[in-house]
Amino acid sequence: MVKLKFSLILLFFPLIIFSQKNIIKGNISDKSGEPLLGVSILLKDTQIGSTSDLDGNYSINTKDKTNGVLVFNYLGFAVKNVNFTKNTKDLDIILIESAEELEEIVVTALGIKRDKKSLSYSTQKVNTEDMAEARSSNFLNALAGKASGVQIVNSSTPTGSTRVLIRGLTSITSNNQPLYVIDGVPLDSSQGDGGVSVWNSGDDIDLGSPISAINPDDIESIQILKGANASALYGSRASNGVVLITTKKANKTDSKIYVDINSNTSIVSNREYPKYQYVYGAGDNGRTSLNPSMQDATTGLPNVGRFRRAYGMPLLGQQVLDYNGTVGTYSPNINNVKDLYQIGTVSTNTIAITRATDKNSLRLSYSNTLGDHVMDRMEEVKRNNLALRFSQDITEKIKINTSLIYVNQEVNNRMYRNGSQRNPANNYMYMVPNMSSENLFPYKDENNNAFNYEGDFNNPYWNLFENSNQDVTNRVVTNFTLNWKILKGLNLKTRVNGAINKVERFEFNNMGASYDPDGLYREISTSVQNWNYEAILNYTKKFNDFSIVSLLGVNRFDLRRSGTRQTAISLLQRDIKSLSNGDEFAPVIYLPNNKRINSIFSSISTGYKDTYFLDITGRNDWSSTLPSFTNSYFYPSIGATTIFTKFIPRNDIITFGKVRASFAQVGSDTSFDRVINAYVEGGNYNNTTWLQLQSQRKNLELKPELTSSTEIGIETKLFNNKISFDATFYRSSTNNQIIPVQVTPTSGFISKFINAGEVQNEGIELFLSAKIFDNKFKWQTDVNWSKNESSVVSLADGVDRLLIRNFFNVGVYAEKDQPFGNLRGNAQATDPETGTPLVLPNGRVRWENDQLLGNAQADWIGSIRNSFSYKGFSFNFLIDVKMGGDLFSGTMIKSVNHGIHAETLPGREEFLLSSIILGETNNERQGLGLFGNDYADSNRAKGVIYEGAALGVEDANGNWVAERDVNGNIVYSERWLSPQLKGFDGLQDQTRYVYDASYVKLREVVIGYTFQRRIINKMKKVKNIKLSIVGRDLWTIYRNTPQGIDPEAGTTSGNGQGLEFASFLPTRSIGVNLKLRF
């Protein structure tokens, strides 16, 4: 409380400071006369400073100093010192481009600022320029294509979980998400889709990544620490890399108050739909009625509602008994799926106020986001973000820095995902072409019960209008840092920071649904507190040719999560969203998750002659999640750098160059409560609350996981800094993985936690940045390219594979000696000698199970960002590329199985002729005539056939081989099938639905115009206006998946990549962004 008061007083401090005025103004440009924006101007030996604006104009208030030196500093230009006197009022400056090496300061682990050239590992700064304009309502999605070695799998809903994978996955079973650190506060990076199943066996609601609600307007910079080498000082939680986010603060300028406004409105719409067929309607084997009982008793018409699949007759407008029991026509409704969708809107408005003096700075911003999505009532977001940053120099030696981020978010009706019966959007796999959206109304009868449909189809309008869910999040991220300059070069930084996240949510399924007539109401409340207490003693010294940066620190991390979950599994009355509406007592399920990690760490970096650098770090963690005798673990890192341009002659080609190498280890603990087995509540039976032993066997002998990583790299600046080129090669391996391995149930357990297995990652990252034109017309290109291979070196003893996720029999596996993520399932059997595909005597596919279908890992990923500007115009676009990796599409299996996909058209006409008109039997289509004779006319197409396939016969060794004639030649099968059976065969011949998931996407486009000075001058006080047209995910330039199936689609943000089932249709967003400063 005292602390709070103190902060509040400081908050108003800037307003009561007054001082003298002595203002110097001028313009800053380069040789060509082009104004330079953002040049820092500093009054030497003070902290008074300013920056130049868009037109190169600056002004600085030197206050009581009437003479002295102004230092003009701009990246890529030589520093210029200019004397001024009492009379200096106007001072125009021309800066000369520097051929010298750059002093580029970057933020490294623990927020320590280092000169980039001295680092022995790679970090990459993310271009945040377009993020606030080409916005995604999910901030993490905007990281796509922004850094090499960072793979982003976009969330499937605006509020869903995004997968961010830095240098591949290190852990087989954990989510492998990086640690996010905002202004020094490490955040909980758990994903919100842990309960999302492939098909109906989980919560199926994706609550998103907590970090995704950050307002990009508040972000100053993002630095990515990729490997263990960069993040070793963060310890356990950083074994998957770190994303360091620094929020904006007021720059030390002239105590003026600036107001920035950013207003963005975008529309979201479906980008594409699958290719449907609108030729044949509901029915079976070319018919709409199989026997008289399928015809309506009163009208005698075929009842189309009896069929779940569209393998019926041609849609010619025949009379049928339609879905809502009325007489209708059997005709195509080509917009039946499109009609379920709408255009969504997202608008965000941000206002930020900044003010800084030489003693303190303050930035306060507020932003409001309102959005909805492509389905009525779904994904409605209301978000308020408040960000405050304040710093104050209390004395010469003591400074405080505080920041506070507050997010309040309400999301209504997150969409259930994947195959969930509650997912209103998955009907696009099942909706037969003669069904229209009008057929779907009313969706319930007079007793409020949903109309029932054959098969998996559920009326989407029931799900849209009868079910609801809501979550309200309140999050506070706060940081308080006190810097004490004890002596020159010796600093003590103490810091307390915390992130508090409270989520209250409910889920309501109204009574009367066909899949759950009693309905459901559930309340979940969680509260996560995440506290860090840290003290770091920092010593920096330069003597002779040596420089030293060293630190010693301690940290305590406390995670306290508590939560409750209560479910009323059947309701008493409709529409009432309350636990008391349950017809039985709803037991409380507690969801605790606690952890404490104590750490002590140290690092020392020495430099010699500004040419050679050596980094050494060490850290010891004590984690509460491990058994007492293994819970302390130490890990070191060492790295070296040489700036080789120091000892080669100055030349026009290589301006700057360094090579670096480093080795690091990071230990990692495990999750809460994995040491001792206990009993959990199973339910209530016979008036007894019964208990059962946890089916996962815990382990009293767990050891920490250990990731060891080596990287080497080169960083260069070429042609007078026009081109930057960096390359990194790395290899890491994670041992002693803490994995829950499946065990035979006969042991009494389903799985147990063990330390086993090794995962190796190896990769290359390249980064190239070129200023192609740098005059009035500017063109800059940034290219990222990276390749990573995650392979499973070993698993537990006797375990060759682990199933990560599955869609029925199609699984994603970690397999020993294999790249991670093998996809396995059924495939057509082939002749071992010739590879000829085999069929059964009935013409259908002969298959083998457990066949390798592909692998989900990409071969490489990359991006190109181009930015052009001329006068006030600017044009930026980002192209994001992923090459390689396979995707199994459950959606395609279903939509082909249901006969609604255009892929099912071939052979239908021929089959109708054969089956309905000529009345040929299955035997005849399979070439069998009467009395064991061959059927004549075997060449005429009678449906579909497996081309080049032969009958499988069993040879003497019991292997299935192709049928051969007496001469040993393969007899090719002439067994014609109904297209429907071929469609059904997709369950056996699953290679059909495995696609190359490569893509090239136009990810972001920003076309902007910054209003010229002379226009703005007419508007009082306005300093800057920029208007942009922005777009995200506009165009998939290249892909091999079928239309409507996004190559990025998946069922989870976890490790089970490579499976897709009922994923949402891909969307794009286009909008307008207005930026204003006054």
Binding site: N291, P292, S293, I394, T395, L482, W484, T494, Y515, P517, D518, Y533, A535, V554, R556, I569, S570, D583, E584, Y590, P592, N594, I600, W622, T625, S628, N631, S632, F672, D673, I676, A678, Y679, E681, G682, G683, N684, Y685, N686, T688, W690, L691, Q692, L693, Q694, S695, Q742, T744, P745, T746, S747, G748, F749, G798, R801, F808, N809, L840, N842, R844
Partner: protein
Amino acid sequence: MKLKIQNHKIKVVALIILFSFSCTNKFEEINTNEFIFSEASPEELFSGVVINTLDLVGGTLNDQFYNTYASYYGGKGGQFNRSFYTESGLDGFWKKFYVNILKNNQDIIDNYENDPAYTNRVYIAKIWKSYVYSILVSTFGPVPYEDASKGLNSVKYDSEEFIYTNILEELKEATNNIDVSGDILEQDPIFSGDNSKWKKFANTLRLKIALRISAGFPSLAEQHGSEAIADENNLVSSNSENVTMKWGIEQENWSFNYSRYVNLQANDDVVPYLNFYFILNFKTYKDPRLIAIAEPSSDPITIRDEVFKSGSLTEKITVEYDIPYFGRPLGGSAVVEGWDLDANKNLLNGLPNRSYSQPKRDLFMAPDMAYNIITYAETNFIKAEAKLLEWGGTKSAEQYYYDGIDASFQQYGSTGNAEYKNRDGIKWGTVSIGDRGLFGLVTSGISSEPLDKIVRQRWLASYNQGHDMWCVQKRTRILPLTDQFAPDGSSGLVYAPLSERMIYPPISEGGLNNEALQEAINALGGNTLYTPLKMNKKYTPVKWETLSDIVEFTQDFAKNFYGDSEDDLIDAGITYKII
């Protein structure tokens, strides 16, 4: 201000020092989940064991396998039905058996065995263990027994004989050692804490299992069977002593049938229908229990029948009327290729599913329905058979047989048992021709053989005890049933006989305990549905396609449903049409 800074300095230094010394002292507390339980009483564990056993054995498995294998259900879900299973399904059953049921049950034994205050409760857990293993071993064959539930990575399989020897021994011990006045199981879900009933359960189960293996392991069977029957006072001796598990009215305890078929209003082709031959055996003998077991069809089949004209004993008329009770054959109306039957004569062609009878709703579809483990009627039929095997027993086989019929009538609240017992075929020593089935391949006729009579009555009396009757049929092969014609097209079979066993779960065992599994498969001689178990009587497959000379579509199964005269129709209040 200066002082404050000094203060801070001290605090920070103190913090660092404190830190280094107080590193890990609260760790255990932090890493403990305070919302779960470190201990569980036998009662808390056993209730879970029972509801899990009920859901699995009496619910899912009964629905998916046993009731079909016992020919209680007809084709459900079409051609796949006879041996329908999925790999992941098998895997799930295996987990339920070994993890949810056996491990938790074993936990009672392991934790309380050495505490004399829990003697009876430990025996109860052992009885349950034997019961569950008796299901496992008769369903799969050799299964892990001795090394199971111990947390081992690799668990060996034990032979059928080994397992039977052990479970029979355990049941013997429990019968002998349960102290009726000793500790009781509070909140006992089966017998409300009546130890004497547990004793009887143990002994009756021992007899029942002994009989079950009498074809495969005759001497082991006789040893235990005769000992159990010698203790006849400790056998289930009235319907009030029936061993029954019950579901509940709370949603979490709803019966499988209610939640799957009633609550979800499952569509017509997935709900269970009673088996054709099962209903036929009720119809032929005008069995009053039929209306207690079957629900009349909501869309009954209309048949054409010949009856004596009212008041006449010679003049026949042709009438048309609806029959409300009609069973569904396995495989629907499918025929065997080569029979060359005229499909137009098939009454079942295009027949809506609703025309078949479903199980009685209030008894077998209720949320809180019961599932019988052992009934008094069944015990009598078991004793009748034991008598035939000369294991002992105070009454004659005939008397046990009649007692069984009486007990069954009493169980269903049906009357007319005296009349029923007097019918041809039912009455001891008599013969009946019965009615022909759809194809005329088998009939509902009963021979004068005592075994034929006893097993037929046990079948009719034990409806919904699918597992028991599957075992009885595998042991005796005496119920007149056909194979399933036209089973799943991809299996390559023209007809599928009764499964001898269920295959091992390929994922959890093949993947995780493969070495032990392969050993078991080698010992068993294969891992198919038709790999015979040692406990089964050898099956000689019928070559159905060679029976083309006797096969024809008949309507005998429906003939004279209400009697052979128009007067019977009038008496029954049936609307009929004279053709």
